[in-house]
Amino acid sequence: MALKTTEVEAKGGRSRHRSLGLSDEQALRIYEVMRLARAVDERMWLINRQGRAPFVISCQGQEGAQVGIAAALRPGSDWVAPYYRDAGVVLWFGMTARDQMLSFFARREDPNSGGRQMPGHFGSRRLHIVTGGSPVATQLLHAAGVALASKQRKEDAVTAAFFGEGAASQGDTHEAMNFAGIHKLAVLFVCENNGYAISVPQSQQMAIQNVADRAAGYGFPGVVVDGNDVLACYEVARQAVERARRGEGPTLIEAKTYRFTAHSSDDDDKRYRQAEEVAIWRQKDPIQRYATYLREAGTLLDPVEQEITERVNQQVEDATDYAEQAPDPTADDLTTFVFKQELKP
């Protein structure tokens, strides 16, 4: 039942984005958010390696899947339940570089958690980003619940839950897909399959090639897509979103991708994967690849690229400066908000 769409790229040629209904501006916006996600991430590593912040966890390599899929949603009315790599998703949904950096430095102003959670633990009620903790896969059930509420109120919002192929092994993943299938909920289950769960390769995680094949067991379609092809990701997500809005139920999208960095700043990926493998995947960098396409399509002209680069750098600089200076929480902040309180003190 898993529909292979890896061949999607062939279609459309130099005006592929237009044939997908994306204007040049939209296509460039996607590019810019991917660039921004990458740039913030790179800066965080730099700062971490200088000992100025204790922890990074990265989106690098997965920006195509993240932004491509998020771009098919409607920020503000649709919902996302991202996981820790999904900088690309949350930036598309309205988080800023500054928000990212405030979280990275665990400042009081961090909109995700007030400095309580590690970086990468996104959440914003206002932006419709469901708060995430560290335990993997729990968010798939939250997404199903968010979608249930939309159905109960007869709203057409779509909810997308993102997770790794490791998280697919958790019972919650099964329970969420089963529930969403039964109730034909408007959910996109998006598996960013980067081949590893920390050190554990896919072959030790499951006996199958495609996580997407599991969708058949829940009565909805599974789609495999090249996660490093941002437009292909956009395309399958758009189809899934349309299906969901029509009330036809969930879709499982498996984006095959790769992470460029170690699992996190606490990990040493040389213990479990070859430098050559990383190098091969770096050749398939979703940002480079998209840039090449956009240049060939005549959409990304040199001055435009330069402007984007400047804006991105500017945001990273500003965000870093702002966040590094921003105040820490105080010891008094330790005991607030165990329960709902009407006002932030």
Partner: protein
């Protein structure tokens, strides 16, 4: 005022809250057409339809996880766990997710949701239909835990729980369902979460309990009165946040306290009550605080001899209360 059983009070409480607020809905195993295995939701499926009374798949993590998501998106779910003994598959969603949503977002998210779970023994339910689960959950900051013992409190606390902006674990003692009857105030009575209740005044010693044990302690107090011992009975009602002031007050008043629960003793609710008294009323004690609890075994056996041996009952409580009174 009408006399109701505990199960009727719960059904009425759900019904009234569902009528009052469209965002309230029920999800759990067999809660729909079947009306729940104890008939707690009997009639609600017909009345409110399949979008508000949802028969879930057989998966507790799903029940709670979906409830969390729905609460995020503006609903007020009541998640029913068929027996408290089957809540463990949902532990991760309850403890690591629901209890931490507010804290981990510094108040940006809150979860107005109730988890209802029938608990306790004395119903030939054996190891897996008799358990007490309150200590484990009460240990977790970020959850509220209530355990009413009377129909009025059952209804009033259920309403409070449904209207509460935070996750509440609502424990309903199976043995009390049809055993305990009492007046339930008409109208929209809410019993506040976090307030214990002196169910009987006394001066010689205090019995502190909740759930089914409240009924037993009231019986014991009656018997003690016949001996000329005046026992105060404090019904905790809410286990978390616990009513420290009420505990300290009764300890200071009588100087002798017996804490009673079915749950096993180690790091249970009685231990915490003892610690609170130790820290706040040590100087007022005329005797060490004592406890009567379930035994230190994994769970309540099926055979009736073993079940009786397991359950605290009025005789066991009375014996210990007399021991305490005599110190």
């Amino acid at each position: 005022m009408a006399v109701k059983t505990v199960i009727e009070a719960i059904r009425d409480g759900m019904d009234e809250e569902m009528a009052r607020d469209e965002s309230v809905f029920l999800i759990g195993e067999d809660v729909g057409n079947r009306g729940g295995v104890f008939l707690a939701s009997d009639g609600l499926y017909k009345k409110y339809g399949e979008l508000r009374v949802i028969d879930s798949p057989l998966a507790e993590s799903c029940i709670v996880g979906v409830a969390i998501g729905a609460a995020v998106n503006g609903m007020r779910p009541i998640a029913e766990i068929q027996f408290a003994d089957f809540i463990a598959p949902a532990m991760n969603q309850i403890i690591e997710e629901a209890a931490r949503f507010s804290y981990r977002t510094a108040g940006d998210f809150n979860l107005p949701m109730v988890i209802r779970a029938p608990w306790g023994g004395g119903v030939h339910g054996a190891l897996y239909h008799s358990q007490s689960i309150e200590a484990m959950f009460a240990h977790v900051p970020g959850l509220k835990v209530v355990a009413p013992g009377t129909p009025a409190d059952a209804k009033g606390l259920l309403k409070a729980a449904i209207r509460d902006p935070d996750p509440v674990l609502y424990l309903e003692h199976k043995r009390t369902y049809r055993l305990v009857k009492g007046e339930v105030p008409d109208g929209d009575g809410v019993v506040p979460i976090g307030k214990a209740d002196v169910k009987r005044d006394g001066k010689d010693l205090s019995l502190i309990a909740y759930g089914l044990m409240l009924t037993y302690c009231l019986e014991v107090a009656e018997k003690l009165a016949a001996d000329g011992i005046s026992a105060e009975v404090l019904d905790l009602r809410t286990i978390r946040p616990i009513d420290r002031a009420a505990i300290i007050a009764t300890a200071r008043k009588t100087g002798k306290v017996l804490v009673v629960h079915e749950d096993t003793p180690f790091a249970g609710v009685a231990a915490e009550v003892m610690a609170i008294i130790m820290e706040n009323a040590f100087d007022a004690l005329d005797a060490p605080v004592m406890r009567v609890t379930g035994p230190d075994v994994p769970a309540m056996p099926f055979n009736h001899v073993l079940e009786e041996a397991f359950m605290p009952n009025p005789e066991k409580i009375l014996a210990k209360a007399r021991e305490l009174a005599a110190v």
